[in-house]
């Protein structure tokens, strides 16, 4: 029983979810209360995670099906912080759309729970369970604004495609189980026999499923529609939190059981990476809706993250994790700006609505400027360092082609980020937006913008945290 404290955060969240559901049913008008309690839950779960698991090197539980290691605890902490921030800045948006209901925080909590299970999984079954838990919650979240056609459409689309990919994934799992005799990652690693081509099939199927979850090209089709249709606060959640969990599983799946088959999967990851980088950059150019644009840009950013994964080295994994962490901060900042584009209780999400923003809202535009240049990867902002670490790891493995293609695609991507900056700074101004934003929204924007701007002063901190992660 001693080891139960290692999964205390998960237990705590699941108990809270049940409690909050009961509370929500029996107490009227309890949405604000549930909301606050959920925030509190996440906070406590984060504290427990830090306390109980942060210093642990590697422990496996429940017949090796759950693993607690530095990567798991770090990613859980990022997930929880991400979830907390998403929840806290979305309240005013939800209220404006009159969808401030008890289900929202509870669904977020359960999807976070699923992600935490995914992150810790060391077994195909546990992994699948976590994945489904988070996906089911996400389907509902996507349709949360159910009176809007687009939101329902987004949810349905997401559900159908995601279920298909889950099916593929499950098929891959069964193939792997069939040919290695186990679902446990460590056991599979020992049983591996590279002559079994069916195993390669299994890997491919699972990779397809995972690539779908992180929306890597060519499994990205759902992303733009779902991102556009979902309520903005949910889109924010989509772009940040599930990707962290999916990336962790990606790393664990490739590097624990199948590291010896690297010759077989490396090409696939390189292809996914290059395709995502280039497609993300080119497809974003023509967009007019900011959320769609963010969808394509997030596809591109996933490409860079995968580039780090493709290296097959610890440096590569660490650089990917650094990349995703910095990306999460940038995304948070970008969406905070997006949530500030409000006038008379209406939110604006077209790029043209940003026109001439710098005249009326100099500070907001300055933040956007920093965020966009950072997303484009221009030094000395945080986004540059993210790319820099990835390409450092890539070039270490002499994968020059990947590095050059990646960097050239940053130039293409720079174009559409510049286009937004152009609209903000060079174009004619429009009507003013409201300035009475909530404290938390302002806080998250200032905090993340400053983090992005001043990251270069002490980049070692993040590296030190991440350097504890040694998968291989």
């Amino acid at each position: 029983m001693d080891s139960l404290n290692l999964i205390l955060p998960e237990i705590f969240i699941s108990l809270s979810v049940m409690f909050l559901l009961i509370l929500g049913v029996f107490k009227k008008d309890s949405s604000q209360l549930t909301f606050n309690l959920s925030l509190f839950t996440i906070l406590i779960a984060a504290i427990i995670t830090v306390n109980e698991t942060y210093s642990i090197n590697r422990v496996t539980l429940f017949k090796d099906s759950v693993v607690i290691d530095p990567m798991a605890s770090l990613m859980k902490i990022i997930t929880l912080i991400g979830g907390f921030l998403v929840l806290i800045i979305s309240s005013s948006y939800l209220k404006a759309f009159k969808i401030f209901k008890i289900e929202y925080p509870i669904l977020i909590l359960s999807s976070i729970l699923g992600m935490m299970v995914m992150i810790s999984s060391n077994d195909l079954m546990v992994f699948y369970m976590g994945l489904e838990l988070q996906s089911l919650a996400l389907y509902v979240l996507a349709t949360f604004n159910r009176d809007q056609l687009k939101s329902s459409e987004a949810g349905l689309k997401y559900f159908v495609l995601s279920a298909l990919s889950s099916g593929l994934l499950l098929y891959g799992c069964s193939l792997i189980y069939g040919f290695s005799g186990s679902t446990n990652f460590d056991v599979i690693a020992n049983q591996l026999n590279s002559n079994e081509y069916a195993l390669t099939f299994g890997i491919v199927f699972i990779l397809v499923g995972l690539a779908f979850k992180i929306s890597a090209v060519p499994f990205h089709m759902w992303a733009p529609d779902v991102y556009e249709g979902s309520p903005t606060s949910v889109t924010l959640f989509f772009t940040m939190v599930p990707k962290i969990a999916a990336l962790t599983v990606f790393i664990r799946f490739l590097y624990v059981p199948f590291i010896n088959l690297i010759d077989q999967w490396q090409m696939i990851i390189i292809f996914l990476s290059i395709a995502s980088m280039i497609f993300g950059a080119i497809a974003a150019i023509g967009q007019t809706n900011i959320k769609r644009l963010i969808a394509y840009s997030s596809i591109g950013h996933i490409g860079y993250t995968l580039a780090g994964l493709a290296t097959g080295s610890n440096d590569g994994i660490q650089s990917s994790i650094i990349y995703i962490s910095i990306y999460v901060v940038m995304n948070l900042a970008l969406f905070s700006c997006l949530l500030m584009l409000k006038r008379n209780e209406q939110y604006y999400e077209d790029i043209d609505d940003l026109s001439g923003l710098s005249k009326n809202h100099p500070l907001l535009s300055l933040c956007l400027l920093i965020i966009l240049f950072s997303l484009a990867g221009i030094p000395p902002l945080a986004g540059f360092f993210a790319k820099f670490y990835v390409f450092k790891a890539v070039i270490e493995q002499s994968m020059y082609f990947l590095a050059i293609v990646g960097l050239l695609s940053t130039v293409i991507a720079a174009f559409y980020y510049l286009r937004i900056i152009k609209i903000i700074y060079f174009d004619k101004e429009k009507e003013k937006y409201d300035t009475d934003h909530g404290v938390w929204l302002k806080f998250s924007l200032t905090f993340s913008a400053i983090l992005i701007l001043l990251y270069f002063i002490s980049p070692s901190q993040l590296i030190e945290v991440v350097s504890r992660i040694n998968i291989i």
């Binding site: 100099p362 030094p379 450092k392 270490e396 590095a403 130039v411 510049l418 980049p459 070692s460 590296i463």
Partner: protein
């Protein structure tokens, strides 16, 4: 450790910018902001003069070196100057206050933001010239794109958006390959510290590709033919102060990069690729001079002349002769002063008549005589008349070229004649001849601030034309050691 004088040079403008950021932005003539910016840049100039006085000219070692751990076991923040870089730092700190004085007439809206951009730009430029770590260099080199993009885009002319994008994307495209090369150097040699790399040397089998990657970045920035096309656009659309910074300092980053990195780190490859540079430089000199002859827009003409002058610079650097490299450095300094002055001269008439077309001027010598005299001085300096700093540079470059390759030198010499042709023709059409337009009579001569700026630029142009000794003193040891090191490296391979 001594007082970190270089870091304070880099940081001071940023502190000034921060201070401005927290002052209130007033419309119209925001005097407080301007005085603050002016004060900061002048202090910076004085510090750099002090730096020059302290500078020991008898050694080629890097001086005032500061080193701090930045990313553990990976990058150190390292800055320092030698005889080559100190002149560029001086040029930067000298030109920036003049830019700030010149905004008087040119920038109408959002003056405070403009000054912030200029100040941030200054600190990045100084950073480029004193960085002694490749990654630190890259950081400063690239970061400069952001303020320049905004300067062109927000305060530029009618086609500003196109020009700003072109400028940004061209330069970024060139630079990303340099980033790949820098990271590769880290994996090949285990360090990005320039001084250590000088000692270690880089294996000859990698040098060619690395050289080309660096070249792609510097060639765009120089700009060399055929990737020069962003420059005329950027120059024409940028506000006067932006053009001045661009011509006077930004272009010099690439020339400096060629000397410091291409020559210093890749001696074997530099030897191999000399014919390429010669060809491109000669084409740049002759071809863009002809283009300059045909221009109708004054700013465009000067922009193309910049390309031609930078052609001389790259030619001089890769002669790998003492005279050639010294000439290139002096040519860069001189071009920094002269092209800045010429852009300001165009700015002066543009502010009055709102036209940059040559044909809308003519016969204004009697109307604005002071202006005509100063304009003449700078035109002559641009074409390299003896007695101006332009002459020293071009003469030395050609001397170096004659030593190395006779044919190239002969062709390049024609460039001097063409340079005289387009500059004198420009001057004749704008200043002399018949009065083309009655409105021109309304023009007022230079006001106090314009007079001050142009005189400030004229003094060093003439001074170094007659007495270039201080410049030579500063660069001589560094350049000769660079060449010795280069020859040693070649001999050992």
């Amino acid at each position: 450790m001594n007082f970190p004088i270089l870091s304070s040079l880099i940081l001071l403008p940023i502190v000034g910018a921060l201070f401005l950021f927290f002052t209130k932005d007033k419309d119209g003539n925001n005097l407080t902001a301007k005085y603050v910016a002016l004060f900061v840049t002048i202090v910076n100039f004085l510090i750099s003069i002090y730096l020059w006085l302290l500078f020991d000219t008898t050694t080629s070692a890097f001086q005032f070196v500061e080193e701090r751990i930045w990313i553990k076991d990976f990058i150190n923040y390292k800055v320092g100057v030698d005889g080559i870089s100190i002149l560029f730092i001086l040029l930067t700190t000298f030109i920036t206050p003049l830019c700030i004085v010149s905004v008087n007439n040119t920038v109408k809206n959002r003056l405070r933001d403009f000054l912030i951009a200029i100040l941030i730009m200054e600190s990045f430029m100084i950073g480029v010239f004193c960085a002694l770590d490749l990654i630190v260099f890259y950081l400063f080199f690239e970061a400069g794109l952001i303020p320049m993009f905004l300067i062109i885009g927000i305060w530029g002319g009618p086609k500003r958006v196109y020009s700003a994008f072109k400028f940004f994307l061209y330069t970024l495209l060139g630079s990303v390959l340099m980033l790949v090369a820098i990271i590769s150097i880290y994996w090949i040699s285990g360090t990005t510290d320039v001084i250590k790399l000088y000692e270690l040397g880089i294996d000859a089998k990698y040098q060619n590709l690395l050289w080309l990657a660096f070249f792609s970045s510097f060639a765009v920035k120089t700009p060399m033919w055929p990737v020069h096309t962003w420059l005329p656009d950027a120059h024409v659309e940028a506000p006067t102060a932006g053009s001045v910074l661009l011509a006077a300092i930004l272009l010099k980053m690439a020339g400096y990069g060629f000397i410091r990195f291409s020559l210093g780190l890749f001696p074997v490859a530099s030897e191999i690729f000399t014919p390429l540079i010669y060809t491109l430089s000669v084409i740049a000199i002759i071809f863009t001079s002809f283009i300059a002859l045909m221009q109708e827009d004054m700013k465009k003409l000067i922009a193309y002349s910049s390309v031609a002058h930078m052609g001389f610079v790259t030619l001089g650097i890769f002669t790998l002769q003492q005279q050639g490299i010294e000439g290139s450095i002096i040519q860069m300094i001189s071009h920094g002063l002269v092209s800045a002055a010429l852009f300001l001269c165009v700015g002066v008439v543009y502010d009055r008549m709102h036209s940059r077309l040559i044909k809308s001027y003519g016969g204004i010598v009697t109307i604005i005589p002071k202006y005509s005299i100063l304009f003449m001085l700078f035109s002559l300096a641009a074409l390299g008349l003896p007695g101006t700093s332009g002459f020293i540079g071009e003469f030395l470059i050609l001397m170096g070229a004659f030593k190395d390759n006779f044919l190239v030198a002969i062709i390049a010499s024609f460039g001097v004649i063409l340079g005289a042709a387009y500059m004198l023709w420009l001057y004749k059409r704008v200043i002399f001849g018949k009065l083309v337009n009655e409105d021109l009579k309304q023009m007022v001569d230079l006001n106090r601030s314009e007079y001050l700026i142009l005189t400030c630029l004229a003094v060093p142009t003439l001074f170094f034309g007659f007495y270039p000794e201080p410049l030579f003193n500063t660069i001589e040891v560094s350049v000769s050691d660079l060449i010795n090191m280069h020859n040693l490296n070649i001999a050992s391979k």
